[in-house]
């Protein structure tokens, strides 16, 4: 056994001491790389076996309770999630209609201005008209008094309640969350929002809910204060699209994805540019480096007897 080990390793070991053998550097490095790969396979394989054993031992003792169950949302094929796809702006416009007519009764979009809607959902004139629908308290004027005026593009979208306490008092003691970052602020992102909006069910046997609380298996814990808000034909779309529950949920989720990441389309456009420029820089820097190293890499050393 020792002889085998010795034969297997002696050649490699004998190259180590003494003077540098520069011409063998690349060869030795590639040998090392192969050894590293082999070691990685061996090490990770061993770890996998050990981990699986521990995991199986753990599972053997673990108990499963019905109350532990939390339904994860399925993956939906959101078009804007694809690498080369921008937001569907028709869907964004419909989503805004859903928010305005349904969600805005309880939820705010406190970081969104009417000017943000220009060129995305509305033309400038449409956005001005949309803003002008609201009366905004402004001031003080030259006489030191507050006054009301029509909304402008620079105004934020109005909040449904004057303060958080009023919001909580009107909603069973729980303030409805602001929706600007709701998509990026929840695990599962768009999938979770869509599943939540369309996932209301009757509470299963054995589940007791408090007054004003509803059952939704996608909500952590199952008990949610918000009642089901979207029904078939609850609003009428201005573009004539049939307003089914799933269509409403899809459009408002897309709209909320945009409010959370208004830079989305620009971001992807920049990603395409970066891919092209990065490839050019990478290839040119690589070949420049390779050109400089060529004489060193192809150097040969001859030893005279």
């Amino acid at each position: 056994m020792a002889g085998l080990v010795g034969r297997a390793t002696r050649d490699a070991l004998l190259k180590v001491p003494g003077a540098v053998q520069g011409q063998n550097a690349r060869m030795m490095s590639s040998t090392t790389a192969r050894n590293m790969k082999r070691a990685a396979v061996v090490g990770l394989g061993g770890l996998a076996v050990a981990g699986t054993t521990i995991y199986m031992a753990g599972l053997n003792e673990s108990k499963v309770y019905a109350s532990d169950m939390e339904l994860h949302p399925p993956k939906y094929p959101w078009p804007h999630k694809q690498f080369l796809k921008a937001f569907d702006h028709d869907s964004l416009r419909r989503g805004y209609e859903v928010y305005k007519n349904v969600c805005s009764a309880c939820h705010s979009l406190q970081y969104l201005h009417y000017r943000d809607l220009v060129g995305v959902i509305f033309t400038e004139d449409e956005a001005k008209a949309e803003a002008a629908e609201n009366m905004v308290v402004d001031g003080p004027n030259d006489d030191g008094e507050m006054y009301e005026r029509e909304g402008k593009l620079t105004d934020r979208l109005p909040k449904p309640y004057p303060n958080p306490e009023a919001a909580a008092a009107a909603n069973n003691g729980v303030e409805p969350p602001d929706l600007t970052y709701i998509v990026r602020g929840r695990h599962g992102e768009e999938d979770y929002i869509f599943a939540l909006l369309t996932g209301y069910k009757d509470a299963p046997a054995g589940v007791k809910l408090g007054e004003g609380v509803h059952y939704n298996p996608y909500y952590p814990g199952g008990a949610i204060s918000m009642a089901m808000a979207l029904y078939n034909e609850i609003i009428e779309y201005s573009d004539g699209t049939p307003a089914t529950q799933s269509q409403l949920a899809k459009d408002v989720t897309t709209f909320l994805a945009w409010t959370a990441a208004p830079e989305h389309d620009l971001r992807k456009w920049m990603a395409i540019k970066l891919t092209l420029l990065g490839t050019i820089f990478l290839v040119s820097s690589f070949f420049f480096k390779r050109h400089r190293w060529a004489y060193l890499k192809t150097k040969q050393v001859a030893l005279k007897k």
């Binding site: 056994m1 020792a2 002889g3 080990v5 010795g6 390793t9 002696r10 070991l13 180590v16 003077a19 540098v20 520069g22 550097a25 690349r26 030795m28 490095s29 050894n35 590293m36 082999r38 070691a39 061996v42 090490g43 990770l44 061993g46 770890l47 996998a48 981990g51 521990i54 031992a57 753990g58 599972l59 003792e61 673990s62 690498f83 970081y111 970052y181 990026r184 602020g185 929840r186 695990h187 992102e189 952590p220 959370a260 830079e263 971001r267 992807k268 920049m270 990603a271 970066l274 891919t275 990065g278 820089f281 990478l282 820097s285 420049f288 480096k289 050109h291 400089r292 190293w293 060193l296």
Partner: protein, 427 residues
């Protein structure tokens, strides 16, 4: 004129820097410049030696993007979250600057962990001064990352700060006072946020200085190399061989960070941090960023609070003792299949610990965390054994009976080995 000339030489790939020797009439900047340009470097450094320059690039990117963010950030609990939203929505390309800063931090840790792993694999930790300064750089970087994570004042920022600063309360006698001193009050609040911002702003400059010391000590001894042999017999100038090689690595790094920032900006972030901090609402599952998860898992695996904190500190501080490990005959474990298996097992265990740190504290993850934590600390003594014993076995084969420098530690192993050898030879 002089600067223009040097710049031109730098751009040209054919500048033979060995000819540009230091002269007495050169000023200090010229001397520093030529000491970098002329640095003799082993010709066989692999891509694993690129991560030092990548870390320097990360530091530069983080400081630059951080300064831009600091122009608009407001360190006040009432405005911090809104100022971050302002940066992301109103500042020109503010979303991109913030994304670069957030994901740049992750890139920084990826590079530094690979850099440390390379040091362990090729025994760079025997360069004592360089390694010890490097360990300090890691600790300072962790401090910067932690204070930076608090600044957006999201839910995870607030609760992360509360949990981690509370750990200091485990220190006997002074713990509670220390925590209140850090907070600047009786809970994490406005004073905490302001001082964390100051610390987060200042520490990177300390990191720059430490990096300079790190490089200074490295240049005292020179780089190690993949063969683990003395490279004095054959070296090449740093410029332009390694400036160009580092440039390729820097382009790859910037490209990768750019792809993450533009295609997956929230990949390394916790969604909960998009919710403003609420001291009355504890998140169901509090966890730090991915780069702290291994230490966090070790912390949670020890039931005693002080013990957990010690485990957490030791998980990083253990690197400080590595320069004092006994030296083997070979420099590195590139020819040692047993030590390599151990090393890659350690890497796998590190990843596994990070996974456990992200899991809730419940069965079976708690048990797995304990086992994995023990394996983490066992690696270090076993690693010494693996390279010393392998050296001993090989040397016994090549020079049987000769007195070795490290054999005393392995007298038991030696007797076992000789018995095995007798059995095999008797067959």
């Amino acid at each position: 004129m002089e600067i223009k000339k040097y710049f031109y030489f730098f751009l040209s790939g054919y500048f033979s820097s060995f000819n540009q020797e230091m002269k007495p009439d050169q000023n200090v900047f010229q001397k520093m410049f030529f000491s970098l340009v002329n640095l003799p470097v082993p010709p066989n450094l692999t891509i694993m030696w690129n991560f030092g320059s990548l870390l320097g690039t990360c530091l530069f990117i983080q400081i630059l993007s951080g300064l831009l963010l600091a122009c608009h950030y407001t360190p006040d609990v009432s405005y911090a979250f809104d100022s971050v939203v302002y940066i992301m929505r109103e500042v020109n390309n503010g979303w991109l600057i913030r994304s670069i800063h957030v994901n740049g931090a992750s890139a920084f840790f990826v590079c530094i962990y690979i850099h440390i792993a390379r040091g362990i694999f090729y025994h760079s930790f025997f360069k004592k001064h360089t390694w010890l300064v490097g360990c300090t750089i890691l600790l300072v970087l962790m401090g910067i990352a932690f204070t930076g994570y608090v600044l957006p004042w999201g839910q995870m920022s607030y609760w992360g700060a509360t949990v981690i600063t509370n750990l200091a309360s485990a220190i006997p006698y002074i713990g509670t006072d220390l925590v209140e001193w850090m907070w600047g009050g009786f809970c994490v609040g406005n004073a905490t946020l302001k001082r964390f911002f100051v610390v987060h702003f200042l520490l990177p400059f300390m990191l720059m200085a430490l990096s300079g010391v790190h490089i200074f000590y490295l240049h005292e001894t020179g780089s190690s190399n993949p063969l683990g042999v003395d490279s004095d017999g054959e070296a090449v100038p740093f410029h332009s061989f390694y400036t160009l090689k580092d440039l390729v690595g820097i382009v790859v790094l910037i490209w990768l960070v750019g792809v993450v920032c533009l295609c997956f900006p929230d990949f390394f972030s916790d969604p909960i941090n998009f919710n403003p901090a609420d001291p009355l609402k504890t998140p169901t599952h509090i966890q730090p960023e991915w780069y702290f998860l291994f230490a966090y898992a070790i912390l949670r695996s020890i039931p005693n609070k002080l013990g957990g904190v010690l485990g957490l500190v030791l998980s990083v501080a253990v690197l400080y003792i590595m320069p004092f490990f006994p030296k083997g005959y070979q420099r590195g474990i590139q020819y040692n299949i047993f030590a390599q298996s151990l090393f890659w097992g350690f890497v796998g265990n590190f990843v596994f610990l990070s996974f456990i740190g992200a899991c809730p504290i419940e069965h079976p993850y708690d048990l797995m965390g304990v086992v994995s934590s023990v394996v983490y600390f066992l690696f270090f003594p076993l690693y010494i054994l693996s390279y010393l014993s392998w050296d001993y076995v090989l040397m016994e084969i090549i020079h049987p009976g000769e007195k070795k420098t490290h054999v005393h530690v392995f007298s038991v192993a030696r007797s076992v080995y000789l018995k095995l050898k007798n059995i095999v030879s008797s067959w």
